[in-house]
């Protein structure tokens, strides 16, 4: 009843091509953004903000980046964390070495550095595909982390290899409180999500999907695989790079190469699979799920009085089991469940 688009007529091309064609969706999104912008910073506790919401937003951004590459362009990558590391260390170095470097510009430059690395390691994708590529992207993971541990210039000659990042500062305002950090991250993530959504809708996104579905056919009808694939790698790594920079600046406060381990790459891949491969919304749902699940499991283990050791192994098993479960039962992930729910709601109270 509430969710019905009868009577909402589109009378212009602009109206027909908008992102959310149904009025209720627009209202709901505005309400959600209003809550996220106004109510959450006022009401949420610092713990909720800095331990759950900020990492959730950052991981969602990284998952978005991987989703563009894996979900839309069909190139499986296991090197996400490496691109995040490049973004984080590059941003740190730009702020540290160039006096008066604006923070947001440093994030963007960090993202661009990650994009360059992404292009370099995306080159093999032109000749190889599938698991060969997945295995090849592992090279990124090991090589980048090795570089960060072995080249002292990158860590600004810090003796331990652990770097304390600068305070985030824009126009003299210092983002130190969890609320301020949260709002900054929220702003960046929503902006980039909007950008991603539009990129997917444009001919860039369509060329990615054409390459994903059948690359040879795409080539025949005139998409250039070289440009398309490398663009996908570049954009995806840019998103991951910015996410990595935020991870360092807004969440961890310090960076070390170990923070960007293979484990993180897998975690982000899981977000994409569970959330929904090839879905912007899915990246957010998946990130929320993967951030919340360990907390929930820990609480459960605590309530049952299990040792933490058990809890962490249980977490591995639950993660693995869920991946298999989702791949078997709902390969399009949580986003598809959401879509099914919406379709049911449109017809409600009638079953057909």
């Amino acid at each position: 009843m509430l969710y019905r688009e009868a009577g909402q007529f589109k009378t212009s091309y602009v109206a027909d091509g908008q992102i959310l064609p149904i009025r209720q969706d627009r209202v709901a999104l505005c309400a959600l953004l209003a809550v996220a912008l106004a109510a959450v910073p006022l009401l949420a506790s610092p713990y909720l903000l800095s331990a759950i919401l900020i990492p959730f937003l950052i991981f969602a951004l990284a998952a978005l980046g991987l989703n563009m590459l894996t979900g839309y362009a069909g190139q499986l990558s296991l090197g996400t964390a490496a691109f995040m590391a490049v973004g984080a260390y590059a941003s740190f170095n730009f702020v540290a070495r160039i006096p008066g470097m604006p923070l947001l510009l440093a994030f963007i430059l960090g993202g661009l550095c990650a994009a360059l690395v992404g292009i370099a390691f995306g080159l093999p994708s032109l000749r190889i595909r599938g698991f060969y590529l997945a295995a090849a992207t592992l090279a990124t993971q090991f090589f980048v982390i090795w570089c960060l541990t072995k080249i002292p210039y990158l860590t600004n000659y810090s003796s331990s290899g652990v770097v304390t990042v600068q305070t985030m500062q824009i126009f003299g305002y210092r983002f130190v409180s969890p609320q301020a950090k949260y709002l900054l991250v929220l702003g960046i993530v929503s902006l980039m999500a909007l950008l991603a959504k539009n990129m997917i809708r444009s001919n860039v996104g369509r060329s990615w999907m054409a390459i994903r579905d059948m690359d040879m056919a795409a080539e025949v009808i005139g998409f250039r695989p070289l440009r398309t694939k490398l663009l996908a790698f570049a954009v995806s790594s840019f998103y991951c790079g910015v996410a990595g920079a935020l991870y360092a600046f807004a969440y961890l406060g310090t960076v070390e190469p170990e923070a960007y381990s293979l484990d993180l790459s897998f975690r982000i891949l899981f977000m994409v699979i569970i959330g929904g491969v090839g879905s912007i919304l899915g990246s957010f749902l998946g990130a929320a799920f993967i951030v919340l699940l360990p907390i929930f499991l820990n609480m459960l283990a605590h309530a049952l009085g299990l040792a933490t050791n058990y809890a962490s192994n249980l977490e591995l098993m639950v993660f693995g089991g869920l991946i298999i479960f989702f791949l078997i039962v709902e390969p399009h992930g949580l986003a598809r469940l959401w879509q099914i729910g919406k379709e049911k709601l449109r017809l409600w109270p009638f079953p057909h």
């Binding site: 599938g130 090589f143 089991g321 791949l327």
Partner: protein, 298 residues
């Protein structure tokens, strides 16, 4: 010069161990088209189960090994039933991601069952330099590594015989060629999968015991899978000889690079050198050394 030969031999012998893990991958890929990321987890699981039985129940190693083989067969049955059967006909990449999930599950399960501390594994082979080679050629080569090489060779010959001389082997090759055609002539696909995964479990056990005796049975064993990947890329995913040759090349080049190039760039390049080597190789020959060339048509 003898130092060079020593490094080379050491590399080749550790390459044998990589090859052993890589063969597990190849077996499964050949017979079901699944790229099994969980092979490393299976190595860990097999070794830990074996050692765990010795530690917890006090059985002897010679009893624990057949028991572990039974466990691995049970695992293969479970994987076929729960994971593979529902995913028949899905794109290969979906199956690959499922095995990543499987890897996590098995790692968690192994540690939940047997605890996560490092365990020692005593095999009745000593890790000392071979006396004969030391006296006559002045080269230090571990006896243990040589035994591992022999075990690996025996295993490969046995697998080759299994693949070429038996009914099951013929069925395996049929399934590898074409699932549907194999089903059409009455080959039970599901049973073949169980056989293949069991054999891969057996190979995982052998690899796990050898690696575990060297470094202790610990979580780090799962990373061996990551070592085996460049071997596979280099040798081709579908070829057992490819896995062996690839393993030897990777093992030798990685040790040589570490010794001769490593000091120039700060060391520790063993972690990524095989990958970069394999990557460069891929640019020249995307199907690997012995892989079959796939011709794609629209």
């Amino acid at each position: 010069m003898s130092f060079f030969i020593e490094v080379l031999l050491g590399g080749l012998l550790s390459g044998v161990m990589y090859a052993l893990v890589a063969i597990g991958f190849v077996l499964i890929y050949k017979a079901s088209g699944v790229f099994n990321f969980a092979q490393g987890a299976m190595v860990f699981f097999a070794a830990l189960t074996c050692v765990g039985m010795v530690d917890k129940f006090g059985v002897s190693l010679w009893l624990a090994i057949p028991l572990t083989i039974l466990v691995m067969i049970a695992l293969a049955l479970a994987i076929e039933r729960v994971v593979l059967r529902p995913l028949v006909n899905q794109p290969e990449i979906t199956l690959f991601m499922a095995t990543i999930g499987l890897a996590f599950f098995i790692e968690g399960l192994a540690q939940l069952l047997w605890g996560s501390q490092v365990r020692k594994l005593e095999l009745p082979i000593e890790d000392v330099p071979n006396e004969y080679l030391m006296e006559h050629f002045n080269i230090l080569v571990s006896q243990f590594d040589m035994t591992a090489a022999v075990v690996c060779a025996v295993l490969v010959v046995a697998l080759a015989l299994l693949f070429t001389k038996t009914r099951v082997g013929r069925a395996l090759r049929a399934v590898a060629d074409d699932h549907q055609a194999a089903l059409a002539v009455g080959i039970p696909l599901q049973r073949i999968w169980v056989v293949v995964w069991s054999v891969a479990g057996l190979v995982a056990l052998v690899a796990g015991l050898l690696w575990g005796a060297r470094n202790g049975v610990q979580f780090a064993l799962t990373f061996i899978a990551l070592k085996a990947l460049p071997v596979l890329i280099l040798g081709g995913f579908t070829s057992v000889p490819g896995a062996i040759v690839g393993g030897l090349i990777i093992g030798a080049s990685e040790k040589l690079a570490e010794v001769y190039i490593g000091p120039m760039v700060g060391g520790g390049i063993e972690g990524w050198f095989p990958y970069v080597l394999a990557l460069l190789f891929l640019l020249v020959r995307p199907e690997g050394l012995f892989g079959e060339k796939i011709i794609r048509r629209i």
